[in-house]
């Protein structure tokens, strides 16, 4: 025999669980979109990579320009 909802309490719990689930899902979406917006707002991403804790000579402006000229 299938288990049935026995009490109105279960409805309240379901209501609350669905609410919390939706809130958490919304939070994930907000953080994701916020991250995308913030990263896009940085402009040229190489500006960030160039100062990524370790020197990246290959990303310096002169090197980048030379690379671009070389590929043309």
């Amino acid at each position: 025999m299938a288990i049935k909802v026995e009490h109105e309490l279960h409805k309240r719990r379901l209501d609350r669980n669905v609410g919390v689930g939706l809130l958490l899902a919304s939070f994930v979406v907000i953080v994701l979109v916020l991250t995308v917006v913030k990263v896009q707002g940085l402009g040229d991403i190489r500006e960030m990579e160039r100062f990524d804790h370790v020197a990246r000579p290959a990303l310096e402006e002169a090197a980048t320009r030379a690379q671009e000229e070389g590929t043309e």
């Binding site: 026995e6 209501d15 669905v18 919390v20 916020l34 917006v37």
Partner: protein
């Protein structure tokens, strides 16, 4: 014995009960004024960052509402107007309200700081502290000036909205703060004049109880007169303009007339028509605030289209 029968003694809250803790009607005003503060600022904001900013301000306001309900549960249970709130009605446990209030306060301030800037986050944190601690825990039960000083908590949202956009404080944002700050006393005292018995039963020292209703009528008129230059002054700043000035003149005339009507009456007149004038002025005060901020928003829309302003 099943799990269900064991727990039926304690009501388990629905999601809506938790939402009611956040004072959604107050939140409407907070969201609207914060949104106007954000949109009239001279610095454009990415729509999503603006959305997150307003969301954080709304959640922060809701958190302070939950903390207020946790602290005031004893007096809420006494007053007719607040008896059906989630805690006194038993739908939410006090500890839950405290937990929700603290968690959402931290969440909203941190997210606002990460999404926008530290000044906006700091202002929001101070607003929550001011409402929950300075107003609810200290002023509300100790002085008839409770709503005068406590009104600052409700006045901060447009300043926070402005800070979200600009990262700073300016005369315009201070004037928007001042508008709500000066508007709060006549608004609440008009309410106190027609729900008088409630505050008295709860031992909340509203001006009507401590100094009498005649003094309250004088104070309503005094604060409304003091409000007029603040409201009109905004018209001559960078966020004002002729449309705002016209709206402000109209609304201030209307509100001032209402305040004079209240001042001219005594309790006998008031009881005779079931506080009709007091109720009318309370309603006017709502139109007053929404009207001013609506006009500021309209001026901002005009400015973006090359119109508006002086």
């Amino acid at each position: 014995m099943t799990d269900v029968t064991q727990q039926t003694g304690t009501y388990e809250a629905r999601m809506g009960d938790y939402f009611a803790l956040m004072k959604p009607r107050v939140m409407q005003l907070v969201v609207f004024t914060a949104l106007v503060g954000l949109l009239v600022a001279p610095v454009p904001v990415h729509p999503f960052i603006g959305f997150v900013g307003i969301l954080c301000i709304a959640v922060g306001a809701g958190a302070s509402g939950a903390l207020n309900m946790w602290w005031d549960a004893d007096i809420d249970a006494v007053m007719t107007r607040t008896r059906s709130r989630p805690i006194p009605s038993g739908r939410v446990q006090p500890g839950e309200a405290l937990g929700i209030g603290l968690a959402l306060s931290g969440f909203s301030v941190i997210l606002l700081g990460l999404a926008t800037n530290l000044l906006a986050a700091g202002l929001l944190a101070f607003t929550i502290f001011f409402y929950a601690v300075i107003y609810s825990m200290w002023l509300k039960r100790s002085t008839p000036q409770n709503i005068v000083i406590g009104g600052a908590a409700g006045a901060f949202p447009p300043m926070v909205g402005w800070a979200v956009a600009t990262g700073g404080i300016a005369p315009e944002s201070i004037l928007m703060f001042a508008l709500i700050f000066m508007w709060t006393p006549p608004h609440f005292w008009a309410l106190a004049l027609f729900v008088k018995s409630d505050y008295g039963n709860a031992d909340v020292p509203m001006l009507t109880e401590t100094h009498g209703r005649g003094v309250t009528r004088n104070h309503i008129l005094g604060y409304t007169i003091a409000l007029v230059p603040v409201a009109l002054g905004i018209a001559f700043t960078s966020i004002g303009g002729p449309v705002y000035l016209a709206v402000a003149l109209l609304l201030n005339g209307w509100f001032l007339k209402g305040a004079v009507d209240i001042w001219r009456r005594d309790d006998t007149d008031s009881e005779a028509d079931s506080h009709a004038t007091e109720k009318r002025v309370f309603k006017i005060s709502l139109y007053y605030l929404f009207g001013h901020f609506g006009a500021l928003l309209f001026e901002a829309v005009l400015r973006t289209n090359g119109l508006g302003g002086w």
